[in-house]
């Protein structure tokens, strides 16, 4: 297989673009897709202070790497979830990545914050692990971004994540989520930091390929708490569709953004957002879902 641009040996074929690239031209393609995502959705500008949520996995390290290469002021935020050896190994990967690049990294520990690691926390909260973990992470991302004066929080969400989430939301007709699913979530309330997903145009295979070709040492193993997650099943189904019809995932998600989401957005009822009485972060209730969860678990939140 030959590179579409230079005729050299290709290492990454991309059927949906009817193309294949050598390493050099794949990096060019990758940066172009990220640049396009940033510009089309006005995610951030040069000079903005960016906080990248990093887990040690391929997506978050890839987005941090590419933003640093593109010259953005991107700092990392690692949340130690307290999931035994998995968290230790992922933390080592993130520390090494930051050290090699001389990049700024903030580290927060769930155990130090709330007194419990994620498995025990989720059990006490009576929630599925991914749900409790997601709520903790979203709270800490926003709090750390506010504390550090960041303009935007960046996550490593990719095309497969977005297509799988969309499939799940459609299968269950979660119209509220369908109205909000977007590559950029604006800061629509005081104390809410904007969120952006610059990798949303790239697939997981492309991102894993980027990491291997760039020599990024990411944690390959799956989070032990995510085993059996619906999102993984949806991704396999979508990849089977992609094999039959290259570009299916991109058409599904990009088509939704263009033609589907505006409909759900228009239908959505306006809800009043106010500061949580406990932590001050924005919520539609008197006490936010995160603080209610902490109350159930018997932990206290630092404002």
């Amino acid at each position: 297989m030959k590179c579409t641009k230079c005729g050299g040996k290709a290492v990454v074929p991309i059927k949906r673009h009817n193309a294949a690239f050598c390493a050099e031209h794949f990096f060019e393609y990758f940066e172009n897709q990220v640049e396009r995502a940033i510009k089309e959705h006005r995610m951030f500008r040069r000079g903005d202070k960016i906080l990248v949520a990093v887990s040690g996995g391929k997506d978050s390290l890839a987005v941090w790497d590419v933003l640093l290469r593109m010259g953005y002021e991107a700092h990392g935020l690692y949340i130690d979830l307290g999931i035994g050896e998995y968290s230790q190994r992922s933390k080592e990967k993130v520390l090494k990545f930051a050290e090699q690049r001389g990049a700024t990294l903030r580290v927060v520990s769930i155990e130090e914050e709330f007194g419990l690691g994620t498995p025990e926390f989720a059990r006490k909260a009576g929630r599925p692990a991914c749900s409790a973990c997601g709520l903790n992470k979203r709270y800490l991302f926003n709090r750390e971004a506010l504390r550090g004066g960041y303009d935007v929080i960046v996550t490593g969400h990719n095309l497969d994540d977005e297509a799988a989430t969309l499939l799940g939301n459609i299968l269950n007709w979660n119209v509220g989520y369908l109205a909000r699913q977007s590559p950029v979530l604006e800061a629509t309330a005081p104390n809410l930091v904007k969120k952006a997903k610059p990798l949303y145009r790239l697939t997981e295979r492309e991102i894993a390929s980027y990491c291997v070709l760039r020599g990024i040492d990411y944690i390959v193993e799956e989070c032990p708490m995510a085993k059996g997650a619906k999102s993984i099943e949806y991704k396999y189904l979508l990849n089977q569709l992609e094999e039959l019809s290259p570009g299916a995932k991109a058409r599904f998600f990009f088509g939704f953004l263009e033609k589907g989401r505006p409909h759900f957005e228009a239908e959505q009822e306006k809800v009043e957002v106010r500061p949580c009485q406990v932590c001050g972060q924005p919520t539609t209730a008197e006490v936010c879902a995160h603080c209610r969860m902490l109350q159930r678990v018997g932990a206290a939140a630092a404002p």
């Binding site: 294949a20 997506d59 490593g156 894993a208 291997v212 995510a226 999102s231 991704k235 990849n239």
Partner: protein, 67 residues
């Protein structure tokens, strides 16, 4: 050849080579879209032929959970 699939549980398969990557993936039941194939720190495309004495890694690229 030796084919290692590291996750969800590490498995090592012995296969007779030479064989194309797309045939290896078909035998493993893994769509190319959901994996990367690594040989000597380089990536193999579906049309690449893997020699009998090679050791390759078929690494799933899919991750899950709520972000």
């Amino acid at each position: 050849m030796k084919v290692t699939v590291p996750i969800p549980v590490k498995k090592v398969y012995e296969m007779k080579g030479p064989k194309r990557v797309q045939e290896i993936l078909k035998e493993l039941g893994l769509p190319y879209e959901s994996v990367i194939v690594i040989y000597q720190q380089d990536l193999l495309t579906p049309d690449a032929v893997v020699p009998d004495d090679a050791e390759i890694e078929v690494r799933p690229a899919i991750s899950g959970g709520e972000a």
